[in-house]
Structure formats: C-alpha cells, structure tokens
C-alpha cells in the first residue's frame, strides 16, 4: 500500500453514468463508486475484463471526463479541468500525422512556451533516449507501430509529468516489441537512461549535451497508473495490481501488492516462483469476472 503522506492521485467514490443520446432515459453506468489511489512514485496497474470501463476511469483521472459523482485529487488538490501534472499515453494512435516525430515530441514544449531552438534540442534528446535518434524527420506513417509508440512515449515524458497515465499503450504491438518497450518504460520510470534492452540503431549519444535537460529530476520516480487487460504485464511491471469487476458498474474487487524485487526484466520475472504464485492468486479473482464480461458481451451481441 502507498504511504498515506504522499498521494499523487486519488479517485474518491467515483461514479460515471453515460446517458444515451437517442433515448434520454437510457443510462449506462460504466463505473460505480470506485476509490483508488496512487502514491507518488508508485507503479499501479489496473486489470479487468475487456469493456469494463478501465479507460473511462483513466479519462476521469486525466480530467478529460467529468465523473457523475465523486472527487479526483491530484497531490491533495481537487482536480478541475485537465490534469496538468499528468501525461497520458493513449491506446490508439495519438500522434499528429502532419507533424514529424521531432515536431510531435516538441509540441507539448511549444504549448508551454519553450523557445523553438530549445524545444527542438530537448525533443531530439528524448527521441535518442527512446532509441529513435536520427528518426526525427520521419512522419508517423513512415514509422513502424513500435516506433510510433516510442515517439508517443517521448512526447509524454518530454513534459516531465509527475503522473503518467497509460491506457493499454502496448496492446497493438507484437509480443517481442512489447516486452522490449515494457522493459524500457520500467527503466525510464526507475530514472535510468533507458534504451539498454534493445538493439540500438546508433551508438548511445555521448552523455552531456541535451541529456540533463529533458528529465531534470532523474532521482524522482513518477507515479504511474497503468491500464491493461494483460495480467502478466500488470504483475511484471507494477508495485500494486488492482482488479476491476466486469461492467456495467465496474468497481475494484481486489488489490494485490507485488513484492517482486526490482529492477525486473519483464521476460525473466515470469519464471520467478513468486510471480507464478501471485499470478494464480490474482487470476482466481479475475477469471470469474472475465467469464462474466464475456457472457455479457455475447448477450449484447445476441
């Protein structure tokens, strides 16, 4: 459990009810009285069956969606509007197709009024840190799916947010690319230089230069709220795993502390006996919900 002193993100008794546009009386409760917190520097995963309202919860935390009831607090302050201390990695393609990779990473810095030359330098440094040095001039359609995700990661991290919200960011990637990226995210999160796991297209840039500029506070870990439907991924990466019930009216039904030692390698840790034990423990809770969610989807389809 997180230390009560420093909570980066608190969702208190959140409910989200959507109203159908066609029928005014038709309502759908996606999330019901959910309380969830993420400590500063803590890596928390939320797992649940597909279509259970995980993304809804994340949008509430980001301030993109206003909850029907309940309160969001960010470092103790009630949230109004967009969560300015959070970065968001979307499940779908979120890069601007009309901007090159570098310009995409730069855009957040430009919004904040960073002078262009400086923003450019920081963007290049971040692209190098996610292993895309030399790819700055490519447009998104010229990059592979994994490279686009790396660009999106650089775009989010370039703003040095205190909280990172991730919505199944790697679900569209093939399994090898996915494990590489998971390791890299863990390394960047832990304050490392990133980009040690995979083959590098270019030798690492010499330290110094733009290196210090983007991160600034390498020692301080960011709080991460990670949404996934992949239990393996959740356990391998997190400090804590929260299991959600099947929708509608999703709510947390289990919470598990992951006491595996760090640093972890997401591929190797799967063989750890403790991992296996945790997996079967959490799966026992999750399985029933997955079956429920599946049955509901079939009912809707019928």
């Amino acid at each position: 459990m997180s230390a009560t002193a420093a909570r980066a993100l608190e969702l208190r008794d959140i409910s989200v009810t959507f109203r159908s546009r066609e029928e005014r009386d038709a309502r759908y409760t996606a999330v019901a009285s959910t309380t969830l917190e993420v400590g500063a520097g803590e890596f928390v995963s939320v797992v649940g069956p597909t279509g259970c309202g995980k993304s809804t919860l994340l949008n509430v935390a980001a301030g993109l969606l206003e909850p029907s009831s309940g309160e969001v607090r960010v470092f103790g302050q009630p949230l109004a509007g967009i969560n300015r201390r959070a970065g968001y990695m979307f499940q779908a393609e979120a890069l601007m197709p009309w901007r090159s990779a570098r310009d995409n990473v730069m855009v957040g810095l430009q919004y904040r009024g960073v002078p262009p030359a400086q923003a450019r330098e920081q963007a290049d440094a971040w692209l190098a840190r996610v292993g895309l040095a030399g790819f700055g001039d490519r447009y998104p359609h010229q990059l592979s799916g994994g490279m686009r995700k790396r660009t999106a990661l650089a775009q989010t991290l370039a703003l040095d947010p205190d909280i990172i919200l991730m919505d199944e960011p790697f679900s569209a990637l093939d399994i090898q690319t996915r494990q590489l990226m998971e390791n890299e995210v863990l390394e960047l999160w832990a304050g490392g230089e990133g980009r040690r796991a995979g083959p590098s297209p270019k030798p690492q840039t010499p330290s110094g230069g733009g290196r210090e500029a983007p991160g600034g506070q390498h020692g301080r870990r960011k709080a991460v709220l990670f949404i996934t439907h992949d239990l393996d991924e959740a356990i391998a990466m997190s400090d804590r795993v929260i299991v959600l019930s099947a929708g509608p009216a999703t709510h947390p039904i289990g919470e598990f502390a992951i006491d595996l030692p760090r640093p972890r390698d997401v591929a190797e840790v799967r063989a750890d006996p403790r991992f296996v034990a945790l997996h079967s423990e959490i799966w026992a809770v999750l399985r029933e919900e997955v079956l429920k969610g599946y049955a509901q989807q079939l009912k809707v389809a019928a």
């Binding site: 949008n59 980001a62 993109l64 967009i82 969560n83 300015r84 959070a86 970065g87 968001y88 979307f90 779908a92 393609e93 979120a94 890069l95 601007m96 197709p97 009309w98 901007r99 090159s100 855009v107 957040g108 430009q110 919004y111 904040r112 447009y139 998104p140 359609h141 010229q142 775009q155 703003l159």
Partner: protein, 279 residues
Amino acid sequence: MTMKDRRARQQLRVWQVSVLVVTLVAWRLLSRNDQFAFFFGDPLVVAGRVWSWFLPFAMPPNQLFPEGLPGNADIYLHLGVTLSETMLAFGIGTVLGLGFGLWLALAPMWSAVFDPYIKAANAMPRVILAPIFALWFGLGIWSKVALAVTLVFFIVFFNVFQGVREVSPVVLANARMLGASRKQLLRTVYLPSATSWVFSSLHTSVGLAFVGAVVGEYLGSARGVGYLILQAEGVFDVNTVFAGIVVLTACALVLDGLVGRIERGLMKWQPWMGETEKL
C-alpha cells in the same frame, strides 16, 4: 518490372493520343460539308484562330491556310482579365470558406442557428445572382469575382466544416493533455486537419472559380474570354467560340496542375498510394 511499367505507360500514352487524333481527323473530314462546318466549325480554322490570338507574327499563305494567318496577339488582355477574376475569386472564396468553416464547426450554437440558411444558400442556383452582382458591382471584374466567390465559398466551407468535425478525438485529447490552449488547438490540430480536406476541395473549386468568371463575363462585360465568346456567338462565328473553349480548357488544366503541385508540397506527411514507404 520497371521496364514493363514504362512500356505499359508508353502504350497508354499512344492510345490517349490516338483518341485525340481520330477525333480531330473525323471532325476535319466532316467539316468539309458546309452545313456541318457552319454548326460545328472546322478544327483547322479553330487552330488558326488560336494562332492569331497568341502569336505576334503572321503565317504566310500555304496549303493549309491559303489566305495565311494574321498574328494579332490580342487575347492577352482578355485572358488576363479572366484569369485575374478567377484567381481573386479563388483566393477570396477559399479564405472566406476556411474562416467560416472553422468558426461554425467550433461554435455549435452558431452552426445550429445558421444551419437552415446555409442549406438554403447552397441549394439556390447561384448563377442567377449574376444580374444582381452586375447591378451592385458594375460591369467590371468585381461582379464576376463576386459570382465566382459564391461558387467557391460553399465548396470550401463544407469541406472545412467536415474536416474539423472529423478530427481524430484521440489526437485532440492528446493535444489537450499536452497542455494546448484553445488557440493552440486551433492552430496545431484543427487547422492542419482541415487543410487536407480543403485541398481535396481545391481541385473542384478552382474549376468552379473559372466557371463563375466566364459565366459572369458571358452575361455582361467588355473584356474577358467569356466576352470574346459572346461576341463571336453574336455573328455566328462558331470557330471562335470553339477556340475560346479550347483556351479556357487549357487554362483550367494548368490551374488544376498548379493546385496539385502545391498540394503535394504541403501534404507530404500523407502517405500517397504506392509511396507509403519511400525512405
């Protein structure tokens, strides 16, 4: 493979040119009949007219033109007028369409208020406005510009409107999470996204700007290619009418090619067919 491609393309060109040649020859042969020539003209005379319009030197009498051809070079004034009308209408119509499109797409209240009127204005046969514009702006170029603007405006307007509506919600949410203000969203998300829609409409609207200008001239003017055509029609000079049509078509093709050029320059972020992975 490339050799085969080139061969296929050459063959296509040959076929395309043959269609033109066959048409011209058939036209020429049929025009030996005087009655046919009165109504449909003679391609040789049409070509002669184009020569006289564009070239400053005469052609001496020869087999094709027994009387020779004068080199008047007198179309430039008229062509210049028509083209400047077209360009002005194209520019003004595009800017207005872009402005109104962005504004109404981002202000749902106003778009709801104006919706029936926009539909009505679009449904109206706008060519009929020409006499009114002639009354308001006189017989100079501005009445023609106004008519062509009404044609261009709606094309661009509807495309921008659609373009803004179809901005990817994820890209939008991402920009907001990255801290974009309303103005920054407009500049970095809505405008670039709408641009691709505008460009797809520019090909249509450049053609319509031309139509507006020529129809305006045709309905009352003292200069312009439309005026030349009207004059020729008054004396049953069908050859000059055809020559005017040929000149207008060539100009429209050039303008369209120009738009395509600009489009390729500005839209290089878009994957083109067959060019998706040009590294």
